[in-house]
């Protein structure tokens, strides 16, 4: 692709030269324009190629470093043992994988109903002035740094949970899930809101004309029609929840034990990486195991993007 364009460029440059030697100033300008054009084009191609290169560079480096784990640790131990004790040569990552899956599931369980209700509220129920006020507010909330949410969880939520439950420690899955819910809620609501608003007005008119009221219209017509967009929003929120680091690390407790209750201090893939990476040697199995965990995260998030892509494509084909 790039080579082909280079030949085009040299060809046009030769053409420009021959014309320039043959006649006056105006052709000179034309050659210059043509040169700028193709140079710009090539710069753009190079930039696009660079973006792909970054992704593959990341995939390659993560995989190459991560796969070294299995020199010393068996495949089965890494994935199916929950015994994480690197000082004594135990590298079972199951508890982190379980933590990530459980945390994401719990977050979605809390955040999806709320987000969809808020999306319905924004798209269907509110008067126009309130909608114009609330949409920008939600957009701003999307931009709040995650470390702020973590701070919020640590200083407000955890003392509050401690009072509510009467336990000494409230760090754990529930606290992390609530913090993540507050974080992903604006994202899921706004994207679902856009999906609901994109449902054509004639669908609603038809439903009302058949005598349904608003409740029936929303649940039988609008939500089914926008379900694909809502699933897209949920996957986006999920991707954010799985990859979130700082907000989780401040409230999850960071203890390498499998979470058997909502209030057991535990750890997830991201929090474990960030807590331990700076204290290990690069050329150690411990570090390789951390990279392997990062590679897992990377693969999960890429799979989700392919799923989103697939949903979008089917949506386009049907409409």
């Amino acid at each position: 692709m790039i080579e082909m364009n280079q030949t085009v460029q040299t060809a046009s440059a030769e053409l420009g030269n021959s014309i320039r030697t043959g006649s006056g100033k105006s052709f000179d300008r034309r050659a210059r324009l043509r040169w700028a054009n193709s140079a710009f084009r090539i710069a753009c191609i190079a930039a696009a190629a660079f973006v792909c290169l970054v992704l593959f560079g990341i995939l390659f480096l993560m995989f190459r470093t991560g796969v070294l784990t299995f020199q010393e640790v068996s495949f089965a131990e890494f994935f199916f043992s929950a015994d994480w004790d690197p000082e004594n040569g135990k590298y079972g990552a199951l508890l982190f994988i379980f933590g990530t899956v459980a945390l994401t599931a719990l977050t979605l369980l809390i955040s999806v109903p709320f987000s969809v209700l808020i999306a319905v509220f924004l798209a269907e129920v509110t008067p126009k002035w309130l909608r114009n006020l609330l949409r920008p507010v939600l957009d701003l909330l999307v931009g709040i740094p995650s470390v702020v949410y973590g701070y919020l969880g640590l200083t407000v939520l955890i003392p509050w949970l401690r009072d509510m439950t009467g336990k000494d420690l409230a760090d754990g899955l529930l606290a992390a899930a609530i913090v993540l819910t507050i974080m992903v809620l604006p994202t899921i609501s706004r994207v679902s809101d856009d999906a609901i608003s994109a449902v054509p007005k004639k669908y609603r008119d038809a439903s009302y004309a058949l005598g349904s009221n608003r409740f029936q219209t929303i649940f039988r017509v609008v939500l089914p029609a926008s379900s694909r967009g809502i699933v897209y929003a949920v996957i986006l929120g999920m991707a954010r929840a799985i990859g979130e680091t700082m907000a989780v690390v401040m409230v999850i407790g960071n203890t390498a034990q499998i979470a058997d209750s909502l209030f057991t201090p535990t750890a997830v893939l991201t929090s474990n990486i960030v807590m331990q990476i700076s204290s290990v040697e690069f050329d150690s199995t411990w570090n390789y195991a951390l990279y392997m965990m990062g590679f897992l995260l990377l693969v999960i998030s890429l799979i989700m993007i392919v799923a989103v892509r697939f949903l979008q494509k089917r949506g386009v084909r049907e409409s």
């Binding site: 939600l138 931009g143 740094p145 470390v147 029936q216 990859g243 680091t245 700082m246 690069f282």
Partner: protein
């Protein structure tokens, strides 16, 4: 709507109608209640953070050196590093992101390869930020052996920004009406001239909004910075050296809250949080308010 309800309809019309009307009312109430409450709850929490921190702020806090042991440390170098890192990362990522977005919107043929490039861009934008941190460590600390530096942090942050900028550029350039493009070609401009004089100025609103979103996100990003630029500063104000450690404000907040041993950590964290929220909101609002006003004017 099955057969039985339809056949009963004439007899039970009034009753069914009233019960579904009741549902409708309950549902409307529920939606109003939850919508308002949840949004107010989140906004209230952030407002509380701002209220706890902003009144205690002093100029001294904003530009004095943080201390490890005694009270009264400031956030000066961290605040400066935040802006410095953000600026370097944007200088690197904006040209590349814009060019890649322009390529995808304007030059790219419609084939499998370009579909694949688009998946790459989307895939890169979904990569968790901590992965960029690990990548930064493998690249800068291990391969180039320069340790935890501002340069490494800024480049890792630039990689994080790239896919967002690419997508936003592509979307805003695509949103330009094709008539404008055709008119420019009809006047004899080359493709480059069309892009420079027509497409980019028309798409400028979208581009600025996108760059602000990206900048706001990068300003508050902490996982990448912890891994690639470290949790310490060089301890000197206005340190432009690219190879000194570059703790940013967001990282400092985390550090003070969970690792520091200074007695007034609580207060420093409160103030740092409010500064962080304030600046992120400012980055988001200042550039976008004119655009909102503008779009409202053109719509009505």
């Amino acid at each position: 709507m099955n057969e039985s309800t339809r056949s009963e309809a004439p007899y039970s019309f009034g009753k069914r109608n009233s019960s579904s009307a009741l549902y409708d009312r309950i549902f409307t109430g529920l939606v109003w209640g939850i919508g308002i409450l949840v949004i107010l709850f989140i906004v209230g929490l952030l407002f509380m953070l701002l209220k706890n921190g902003l009144p205690k702020l002093t100029w001294d806090f904003l530009y004095s050196i943080p201390s490890e042991i005694e009270e009264g440390g400031g956030i000066g170098p961290a605040l400066f590093n935040s802006f410095y890192l953000l600026a370097i990362s944007l200088i690197i990522s904006i040209p590349i992101g814009l060019a890649a977005g322009i390529y995808l919107a304007e030059f790219a043929p419609n084939n499998k390869l370009i579909d694949f490039v688009r998946i790459c861009v989307e895939g890169l934008s979904s990569v968790p930020s901590i992965i960029f941190g690990l990548f930064g460590i493998a690249l800068f600390v291990e391969m180039f052996q320069i340790g935890l530096t501002i340069l490494g942090g800024a480049i890792s942050l630039a990689f994080l920004n790239l896919p967002m900028l690419t997508r936003i550029t592509e979307e805003s350039i695509r949103a330009v009406p094709v008539e404008m493009k055709n008119a420019s070609f009809a006047l004899g401009s080359t493709h480059l001239q069309t892009i420079r004089r027509v497409l980019i100025p028309v798409a400028l609103n979208g581009l600025i909004t996108g760059i602000c979103l990206t900048a706001g996100r990068a300003f508050g990003e902490s996982a990448v910075i912890i891994l690639t630029a470290g949790v310490t500063t060089s301890g000197v104000m206005w340190d432009f050296n690219l190879f000194s450690p570059g703790e940013t404000l967001a990282v400092h907040l985390w550090y003070v809250q969970s690792e520091a041993i200074v007695p007034d950590a609580q207060e420093i964290a409160q103030k740092a949080t409010s500064v962080l929220i304030f600046i992120v909101l400012l980055i988001n609002i200042v550039f976008r308010v004119p655009l909102w006003l503008n779009s409202r004017k053109t719509k009505s």
